[in-house]
Amino acid sequence: MKHLLSIDDLSTDEIHQLFETAADMHDVQSREVKKLPALRGRTVVNMFFEDSTRTRSSFEIAGKWLSADVINVSAKGSSTSKGESLRDTVLTVCAMGVDGLVIRHPASGAAVQVSQWVDAAVVNAGDGMHEHPTQALLDAYTLQRHLGSLEGRHVAIIGDLAHSRVFRSNIQCLTRLGARVTVVAPPTLMPSGIGAWSAAAGFETSYDIDSVLPDADAVMMLRVQRERMSGAFFPSPREYTVGYGLTRNRLALLKPDVPICHPGPMNRGLEIAADAADAAQSVVLEQVSSGLAIRMAVLYHLLAGDTRGGIA
C-alpha cells in the first residue's frame, strides 16, 4: 500500500495486519519512554484545511512516537488564505522533501487528487463527505477488542448519515470484517440512493431506532454535522433528540455491556445524552487511544520500509 485514501485501498488481510501492528503500538502508550525509532529521519506533514482536534493531534503524536519529524500546516495562517491553490500549496510543501502527507480537506476527493500530484505517501484524514479511513479502522479495532471477532456481530450506526464520511468508511470496513450493519437515520439524513447501495453492499436501513437498539451488539452514534447542513433537515434539535438521539431511556433498551462509540466531537444532549456518553459501556475515550495506535500502525506500514520501490 502506497497511500491510504479509502478503506477500499486495503485488502482484508492488510486490515488485520494493521490491527496486529496497532496492538503492538498500543503497548507503547503505557511505557515510560513512549518512543520507537522506526521512522527516524522521515518527515510527515499534517495538512488540515478543516478544523480538527483529535485527528490532527493523534496523527501528530503517532508520528512523533515513531520518531518522525512532524509539521502541521493548517489553512488558517497558510498561503491558502492568500489565494494559493491546493496544488501549489501541496507541491510547495512536498518540495521540502516530505515523506508522508496527512491531509484533511472539505472537498470530497481531495486526498485522491493530491496523491496524483506528489511522490509522498498520502493519508486521507477526512475528505468532505467522502471517506475517513483511519476513523473506520480505529472504530473496528476498538469494537474488535470488545467483541472479539466482528464476524456475524450486529453493529447499529445511527445519526447524520448523509453528511458522514465516517459512515462511508465504516460501512466498508465493518462489512468486510463480516459484521452485520444496520444504519438508522431520519429520511432527510439518509444519503440519496441508499436503497441500491445497501442492497449492493449488504447492509440494512431503518428509520426506527427503538426497534434496532435491542438487537445491537454495538452502537455507533454519528455527529449531527451542522457545518455541512445547508437546508432544514429536521424541524428542531429537540425533535431530532426525541426521534434519533441516544437518550437515557434508550440506553435501557440495549443489551448489557454493548459498547457505545462516537467518533467525536459529541453534541451532548443532541445525538447522545450525557448518560450514554459517560456510561460505563461508552468507549469514546478508548476510541481516542485506539486511534493513536491505528495511526501509528498506518504511518509505520506506509513509511518504515523502502518507499522508493513500492512494497513487495
Binding site: 509505520y300 506500514h301 518504515a304 512494497i311
Partner: protein, 188 residues
C-alpha cells in the same frame, strides 16, 4: 521476517547437514540453564527475554529447566526488535511482533536475551536499544543456541549452545517444535 540466514528455507537444493538434533538441543539448553544459574548465583532477579521468532520458545524452555532445578518460576518475556532494526529502510515493511515484559519489569533485573542464531550481531544491537527504552536492567547477558560467527559489531554471547564456524554463503537453519514442528539445527 528476518531475511538473514536465521530463517528456515526448506526449498534449497543443497543437502542439509544436521548439526544438532533434538537431544543435542535439549542438552545445550540444559547446560545454558545451569551456566546461567551458576553465574547469577541462583534465579533471583533473573529475567529471560526471548527475541522473536525462535528466541521466544527457547527462552521458555530455559525457564522451564531453571524452574525444575530451582523449584521456583523464573520471569520470562518476549522482545520484538523490528522497530529498532537498522535495515528497516532497505526492505519492504516488516511485520512487527509483540513485546511482552514480565509483570516485574526489567528495572534492576539481570536480563538474559535469548536468540536462536548469533550472526552479524545487528539483531542484538537493536535489542539493546529496545531494552534502553523499556527500562534499566542491572545487567544484560546474551544466550544463543548457535553462534555462527561473522560478526559485524563488537558483540559476543555469554552463553553459547554450539559454536558453528560457517562460510558466509552457508545457511544455518534452526527449527523448533513450537514454531516448525520439530527440533533441528541444519547447515547447508
Amino acid at each position: 521476517m528476518p531475511a538473514t540466514t536465521e530463517e528456515t528455507d526448506p526449498g534449497t537444493d543443497r543437502p542439509d547437514r544436521t548439526v544438532l538434533d533434538a537431544r543435542d538441543i535439549s542438552r545445550a539448553l540444559t547446560r545454558i540453564s545451569h551456566e546461567l544459574l551458576e553465574r547469577n548465583k541462583g534465579a533471583t532477579d533473573l529475567v529471560l527475554l526471548g527475541l522473536h521468532t525462535r528466541g521466544v520458545p527457547l527462552a521458555r524452555r530455559i525457564a522451564e529447566k531453571i524452574a525444575a532445578v530451582e523449584g521456583a518460576p523464573v520471569a520470562v518475556g518476549e522482545l520484538d526488535v523490528t522497530m529498532y532494526r537498522d535495515d528497516l529502510r532497505s526492505q519492504p515493511t516488516r511485520r512487527a511482533h509483540k513485546t511482552a515484559l514480565p509483570p516485574g519489569g526489567i528495572d534492576e533485573k539481570v536480563v538474559v536475551l535469548v536468540d536462536d542464531v548469533l550472526f552479524s550481531g545487528r539483531t542484538i544491537r537493536a535489542a539493546l536499544d529496545a531494552l534502553a527504552d523499556l527500562g534499566r536492567p542491572a545487567a544484560v547477558r546474551l544466550a544463543v543456541l548457535v553462534d555462527r560467527g561473522h560478526r559485524e559489531l563488537p558483540i559476543r554471547a555469554d552463553h553459547v549452545g554450539k559454536n558453528l564456524p560457517s562460510a558466509l554463503a552457508e545457511r544455518v537453519s534452526v527449527r523448533l517444535a513450537e514454531v516448525d514442528g520439530s527440533d533441528e539445527v541444519t547447515i547447508s
